[in-house]
C-alpha cells in the first residue's frame, strides 16, 4: 500500500523495517518507519518503560580531520558557539551551526574520540534533512588543513529507555560503565562499533554507529531481547517533545538564535565571553539584554492536540503573540503539550496564554521543560 518513489534513499535496515511490518514514509529523502505494528502510543510507552530501538541511519555522520585537536577544535569553534578546545577525549557535546545573523543552520552532536590515533579528529552527527547543506557549509568554511570526511557507509542505531543499559551490557559489557555523553570504541558481539551514551528521548540510552553491513545483525540481536521493541519516527517525535528537545527546522531555524531558542546550555562560558562565532555580537547582546522572543513549553488544557503553526494569543483577546513550533498529544502525560515562541514578557513559567485550534481558544500554561523528567545516566560517585 505504501508506495516508495524511486528517488528515496534507503537505510541499511530498510528490509528489516519492512519485515517487522513498519509503515514506511518518506522523511528527509529516505524511506523511514513512522511506526511498527505496536503503534505510536505503545511504542512511546515502551521506550519510557523498557527499551526502544531506533534506526537513525538517515542522519549524516562525518569526521572533521585536522593535524591536531587544537587546530580542528578551533576550526569548528569558528562556526559554532560551543567550547570544543577543552572538550575531553571520549566526550560528546551538543552544538549548533550558526549563520552570520546568529540564526541556527542545524543542530549537531560532536564527539572527540579518545586515543592518540584520533588526535585532530572530531566526529559529528547532523540532521538528515540538513546534511548536504551542512557538509557544503563546512567544506566552504573550514581552513585548508581541516578536512571533512563523510561516512555514508555507516549506519546509526539508538537504543533508548530505562532497560537500555541492561540489554546493551549483554552484548557490549563496556557500555554499562559509560557516563552520560561519553563516547567509546568497543565491540558489540564481536562487531566493531562506536558507542555514545546519549540520545534524543530524555531517557538513558546509547547511540551505536557501525558499518552499514553490520547494522542488521546488531539490530536483530537487540530486538531478540524481549525488553526491546522497534520504535518509529512517530514515537521518536513525541518522546523528544516530552523531553523538551528541539527539532531543527521547526523549534529552531535560521531565523532563531540559540538564546531565543532557549538552548544557551550549548554555549560554554569562554565562548559566551569571547565570542568568535557567526552572529556573536547579536547573540552576546541577547545574552546581556535578554532576547525579544523565547521558546517556551506549553501545557494545554483539555484533550485536543494543538500542533505546529497554531497561533498563541493573550487570554481574552485576539492579539496573536506567537505560534507553536511543535505540539501534540503527550502519551506519558495523557495530555496535549507544545512548544512555541512568545515575547519574553510572556515567557515566565506559569503564564496563562491561549492557543487557537480550529477557531477555539484553548487555555495553555507556560511550563518548564522537560515536560517529563530526564533520566540520563549519572555515574555513581
Amino acid at each position: 500500500m505504501t508506495e516508495t518513489p524511486p528517488s528515496l534513499a534507503f537505510t541499511p535496515l530498510y528490509d528489516l523495517h519492512v519485515e517487522l511490518g513498519a509503515r514506511m514514509v518518506p522523511f528527509a529523502g529516505y524511506s523511514m518507519p513512522v511506526q511498527y505494528k505496536l503503534g505510536i502510543m505503545k511504542e512511546h510507552q515502551h521506550t519510557r518503560e523498557a527499551a526502544g530501538l531506533f534506526d537513525v541511519s538517515h542522519m549524516g555522520q562525518a569526521f572533521l580531520v585536522g593535524p591536531d585537536h587544537a587546530t580542528t577544535a578551533a576550526a569548528l569553534e569558528a562556526l559554532v558557539p560551543s567550547n570544543f578546545k577543552e572538550l575531553k577525549p571520549g566526550r560528546q557535546r551538543y552544538t549548533v551551526l550558526l549563520n552570520e545573523d546568529g540564526g541556527i543552520l542545524d543542530d549537531l552532536m560532536v564527539t572527540r574520540p579518545a586515543g592518540e590515533e584520533n588526535d585532530g579528529r572530531l566526529y559529528i552527527v547532523v540532521n538528515a534533512a540538513c546534511k548536504e547543506q551542512d557538509f557544503a557549509h563546512l567544506r566552504a568554511k573550514l581552513p585548508g588543513n581541516v578536512v571533512l570526511e563523510e561516512l555514508p557507509e555507516r549506519a546509526l542505531l539508538a537504543l533508548q529507555g530505562p532497560k537500555a543499559a541492561e540489554v546493551m551490557a549483554l552484548h557490549a559489557p563496556q557500555a554499562a560503565e559509560m557516563a552520560f555523553m561519553a563516547s567509546e570504541e568497543m565491540e558489540f558481539d564481536g562487531i566493531k562499533v562506536h558507542v555514545s551514551r546519549s540520545g534524543y528521548t530524555g531517557e538513558d540510552g546509547y547511540e551505536i554507529s557501525c558499518q552499514a553491513g553490520t547494522a542488521e545483525a546488531i539490530a536483530k540481536a537487540l530486538l531478540a531481547d524481549e525488553r526491546v521493541e522497534a520504535i518509529g519516527l512517530g514515537a521518536r517525535d513525541s518522546l523528544r517533545v516530552e523531553a523538551g528537545l528541539c527539532l531543527y527546522g521547526h523549534d529552531i531555524t535560521g531565523k532563531t538564535t540559540p538564546v531565543e531558542g532557549n538552548i544557551t546550555f550549548c554555549m560554554q562560558k569562554r565562548r559566551r565571553e569571547q565570542g568568535g562565532f557567526p552572529g556573536a555580537a547579536l547573540i552576546q547582546k541577547q545574552l546581556v539584554d535578554g532576547p525579544k522572543i523565547l521558546r517556551v513549553g506549553l501545557k494545554i488544557e483539555g484533550r485536543a492536540p494543538a500542533r505546529e503553526g497554531a497561533e498563541i494569543v493573550l487570554p481574552g483577546t485576539d492579539k496573536v503573540i506567537g505560534a507553536l513550533t511543535s505540539g501534540g498529544f503527550a502519551p506519558t502525560m495523557g495530555a496535549p503539550i507544545a512548544m512555541g515562541y512568545v515575547p519574553a514578557a510572556h515567557a515566565q513559567d506559569g503564564t496563562k496564554l491561549e492557543v487557537l485550534v480550529r477557531g477555539k481558544a484553548l487555555p495553555a500554561t507556560v511550563t518548564a521543560m522537560p515536560f517529563v523528567p530526564q533520566r540520563y545516566y549519572r555515574k555513581p560517585a
Binding site: 511506526q35 505510536i40 502510543m41 512517530g234 492536540p305 498529544f329
Partner: protein, 123 residues
C-alpha cells in the same frame, strides 16, 4: 437496515431516514492511536461533504465529513472521554454521530460493502 460506505472511509448505517455515521476499520488503522474526537453540535444542519467531526491521532488531525445532507440528532459523547474506542471498535460502539437525512435519494451515490472492499483493496 443497510450499511453504506464513502471513499472518505466512513460507514453509514441507515434505518428509515436516520443514519449512524462512523469511520471504517481501514480508516482507524491508517490514523493510528486516536487521542481526540470533536463531535458536531446536535441540531446542526450539514450538506453532503461538509466538515462534521474531527478525529485526531498522535500523528495528525483528520476531518469526518457529512456523507449526506441532513441534521445532526446526536453525537457519541463516549468518544470525547474515550477516544481510543475509535481504534478498538470503529464499526460498532465508536460511531461518531447520527443524522436525520434530508434526501434519502443520495444513498444511491454511496458504496456498498462489496464496492468499498474493492475500493480499499485498490489502494
Amino acid at each position: 437496515m443497510s450499511t453504506y460506505f464513502t471513499n472518505d472511509h466512513e460507514w453509514i448505517q441507515v434505518e428509515g431516514d436516520t443514519a449512524t455515521v462512523g469511520i471504517t476499520d481501514y480508516a482507524q488503522a491508517q490514523l493510528g492511536d486516536v487521542v481526540f474526537v470533536e463531535l458536531p453540535e446536535t441540531g446542526k444542519t450539514l450538506a453532503k461533504g461538509d466538515e462534521a467531526a474531527v478525529v485526531e491521532s498522535v500523528k495528525a488531525a483528520s476531518e469526518v465529513y457529512a456523507p449526506l445532507d441532513g441534521e445532526i440528532i446526536e453525537g457519541n459523547e463516549v468518544l470525547v472521554d474515550e477516544p481510543a474506542k475509535v481504534n478498538e471498535e470503529p464499526e460498532a460502539g465508536a460511531w461518531f454521530f447520527k443524522m436525520k437525512l434530508a434526501n434519502t435519494a443520495q444513498l444511491e451515490e454511496l458504496m456498498s460493502a462489496d464496492d468499498y472492499k474493492a475500493f480499499v483493496d485498490s489502494l
